[in-house]
């Protein structure tokens, strides 16, 4: 007979959950609550004088042209980064899944960038593409391209997109590779026997079976682009030129710390929080239905 240990205590599950709940409470609900409260205040940078102004900060945002510009920048930036980091990672994962010589080294090298902090990653890219010192920037100029991310919007955007994609490809690669390895070989072999060529096998068998992974990554990537790319933008362009790479989260930082306007900055982060919660909810509720699990 099987021996089973049962816990009859009612409190125990809560007790076991407590550390996790505590962490969530302290590191999420508390600061989030403070942000909501702060967004109704008008304060000087030092917090010495405080006025309660209700929704004035939100109203000010709605009249701020640069805020709408930041929304547009975020949409462009997140679409580009998500698209490229997912597709490049998928391509690399499919290649790594084949039985190759030295696949181990290849995989390890691809995973490395994930261990690099965003700021450091940003600085690495800056070393290559800084207009007067960068190695590759010099090459571009030699080919007659007037590379100048300090003044050219498109160049600045390209540079932060490249750095952000480079950083995220590793993560996506890992998940895609794991997803690929979980697909039963028998399915693919059966299709091969039926005469399906490799492209057909990929699109009609592998890709649909990979869609749960792809969907999960889509959510994670969007959240990544919204928040974690801050370090890259800060190190590479500082949000410039003229706000061309100022995403929503970077604007939160600029208005809050450099501007010393915590009320306005908090109002932005509350809106941003709402947007991300909504995006995640939509993704799980609607897109999930179309995904093959």
């Amino acid at each position: 007979m099987e021996k089973r240990t049962t816990f009859s205590h009612k409190l125990l599950p809560y007790l076991l959950l407590a550390p996790q709940l505590f962490v969530v409470l302290v590191f999420f609900y508390w600061p989030a609550g403070q942000a909501v409260f702060q967004s109704f205040l008008l304060q000087d940078a030092f917090g010495l004088s405080t006025q309660f102004v209700w929704f004035e900060n939100y109203a000010a945002l709605m009249q701020d042209k640069t805020y709408f510009h930041a929304i547009w920048v975020t949409v462009v930036f997140s679409s580009l980064v998500t698209l490229f980091s997912l597709s490049i990672a998928l391509l690399l994962a499919v290649q790594a899944d084949k039985s190759l010589r030295g696949a181990g080294i290849y995989k390890t090298l691809l995973i490395w960038p994930y261990a690099v902090a965003p700021v450091v990653g940003g600085v690495l890219w800056l070393f290559m593409f800084q207009p007067s010192l960068g190695l590759l920037a010099g090459k571009l100029r030699a080919y007659g391209i007037d590379w100048n991310p300090y003044l050219n919007d498109t160049h600045a955007m390209l540079l932060v997109v490249m750095a952000a994609v480079w950083k995220q490809v590793s993560y996506n690669f890992l998940f895609f590779l794991a997803g690929l390895q979980a697909i039963p070989k028998s399915l693919i072999e059966a299709a091969a026997i039926d005469g399906a060529h490799p492209m057909k096998r990929f699109w009609s068998i592998i890709f649909p079976l990979l869609s749960p992974t792809a969907f999960y990554l889509l959510t994670v990537n969007v959240v990544y682009v919204f928040f974690d790319t801050f370090g890259i933008i800060h190190a590479v362009t500082g949000g410039g030129p003229a706000g061309a790479t100022t995403t929503l989260v970077y604007k939160v930082y600029r208005d809050g710390t450099a501007g010393g306007d915590l009320g306005l900055s908090s109002a932005q982060s509350v809106i941003l929080m709402g947007v991300v919660i909504a995006l995640t909810a939509i993704q799980f509720r609607f897109i999930e239905k179309k995904v093959n699990y």
Binding site: A45, F46, G260
Partner: protein, 436 residues
């Protein structure tokens, strides 16, 4: 044996910690990177070696804006340092933060340290004093805009005299470009400090009403109505097209383009001297800022930049005593003269200036006197006494954004300056509300 050793080690440790207890630590957060950062450490070490009651601990907190933000955040969290180096742009914000700062004149009086505002250069004192003439912060590294010139490059391009006016700079830029400096004929770091703030003072033109904010927080920006400034930005936009002028960013990140030889003419802080001396491998000098000769009365006098040291509020009196001692040490003529000779910052006291003169420093390094001469060129007017604009840190970002829009051709010079003034005025009104 082992026991003996560990006992000895324990004794050593406890004696060391005993020594540390007797000393009062004074935290000094600063924004000086590179060679100037090493000089800050030397100042602290020399002071620590000169007495044994206090230990000044300097900590590098990043660029000027980062350091100020770190100080503000630390104050909100209750862990502010004793001394915070704040750039001149942050002066109005610090002055308005009455509960957060300990006025330097008050601290010196309480600690019984001699402190005479009259011993400082007047243009410096004016900047950091309140309406009653009491100095609220301790002037430390004051600088002003000068034009750094690569003399070897000028010779190569056949420019005989160092250009004194803007039209002459444009001409020189074109010649330099033709002589192979095709990425950058001339440039400017601190784009707004050089081309809006000091430009206005140097031409004796108002940047904002109420004596540029010195007479009240209800000041309004008017620089967009200055035809000379509009024309100047228009010129830069035109020259950016073929890189006779090339933009080098909002702060001083572009200074390296001078030292590397890429930009042969660079308008920047006089405090760039230490770095240029260490890194530039060519013959260089500093010259006064250029001006437009058709403006009557130009050049006027330049206004200061750099930073001052603010003492944060809420520390025990015994610690303030140490801070006061350290500030007396910093302003002694020998220390001050050494600091200004090494870095290119202004000697902030008359005594330090005289000390350097007596040593014959300015005969040896004439370029170091350029900044002082600019400051005292003429008696300051309403337009050239200084600036006191709240949230100027944020405002400079906004102005630079608009200048970037003009340089990329998205807006005309006039439209960009109009937008800069309009957005700046919103920031001023917001500051006025919170500063009450």
């Amino acid at each position: 044996m082992f026991k003996k050793c560990s006992v000895a080690a324990f004794a050593l440790l406890s004696s060391m910690s005993g020594a540390a207890f007797a000393q009062t630590e004074i935290q000094w957060w600063h924004a000086m990177a590179g060679v100037n950062g090493e000089r800050i450490v030397k100042l602290a070490n020399d002071f620590n070696a000169s007495q044994k009651d206090y230990k000044v601990v300097p900590t590098f907190k990043g660029g000027y804006a980062d350091t100020m933000n770190a100080g503000i955040a630390a104050f909100r969290a209750g862990g502010a340092p004793h001394i915070l180096q704040v750039f001149e742009v942050g002066t109005a914000t610090m002055m308005a933060a009455k509960g957060a700062i300990k006025p330097v004149h008050e601290m010196m009086k309480d600690a019984g340290e001699p402190f005479d505002p009259k011993s400082y250069l007047p243009s410096v004192t004016g900047y950091y004093s309140n309406a009653k003439g009491e100095m609220l912060s301790f002037p430390f590294n004051s600088s002003t805009v000068v034009m750094w010139v690569n003399k070897d490059a000028l010779k190569k391009a056949g420019v005989d005299a160092i250009p004194a006016t803007w039209p002459a700079v444009f001409e020189a830029g074109k010649k330099l470009k033709a002589a192979g400096y095709d990425k950058c004929g001339f440039s400017s770091s601190w784009i707004t400090w050089v081309n809006i703030e000091n430009f206005s003072a140097w031409h004796n033109q108002p940047l904002a009403t109420k004596a540029n904010g010195l007479d009240g927080f209800d000041t309004e920006l008017v620089f967009n109505k200055n035809a000379t400034l509009v024309k100047h930005l228009g010129n830069l936009v035109e020259l950016q097209k073929d890189k006779t002028f090339d933009y080098s960013g909002k702060t001083n990140e572009g200074e390296g383009r001078f030292s590397s030889g890429e930009c042969p003419i660079m308008l920047s802080s006089s405090g760039f001297y230490g770095s240029a001396k260490a890194n530039a491998k060519f013959d260089f000098t500093a010259a006064p800022m250029p001006y437009y000769p058709d403006v009557a009365g130009a050049p006027q006098n330049s206004i200061i930049g750099g930073a001052s040291l603010w003492v944060m509020n809420g520390k025990p009196a015994a610690e303030y005593k140490g801070v006061a001692k350290f500030m007396s040490y910093l302003s002694s003529p020998e220390v001050q003269a050494w600091w200004s000779q090494e870095t290119g910052y202004l000697p902030i006291t008359q005594a330090a200036y005289d000390f350097s003169k007596k040593q014959g420093f300015f005969e040896k390094v004439p370029l170091a006197e350029v900044s002082i001469k600019e400051m005292i060129n003429k008696a300051p007017t309403e337009n050239s006494r200084g600036l006191r604009l709240g949230n100027l840190v944020q405002m400079r970002d906004v102005w630079a954004d608009e200048i970037e829009q003009a340089l990329t051709g998205k807006k005309s010079a006039q439209a960009a300056l109009d937008a800069a003034a309009e957005r700046g005025n919103q920031i001023l009104r917001q500051f006025e509300r919170t500063a009450k």
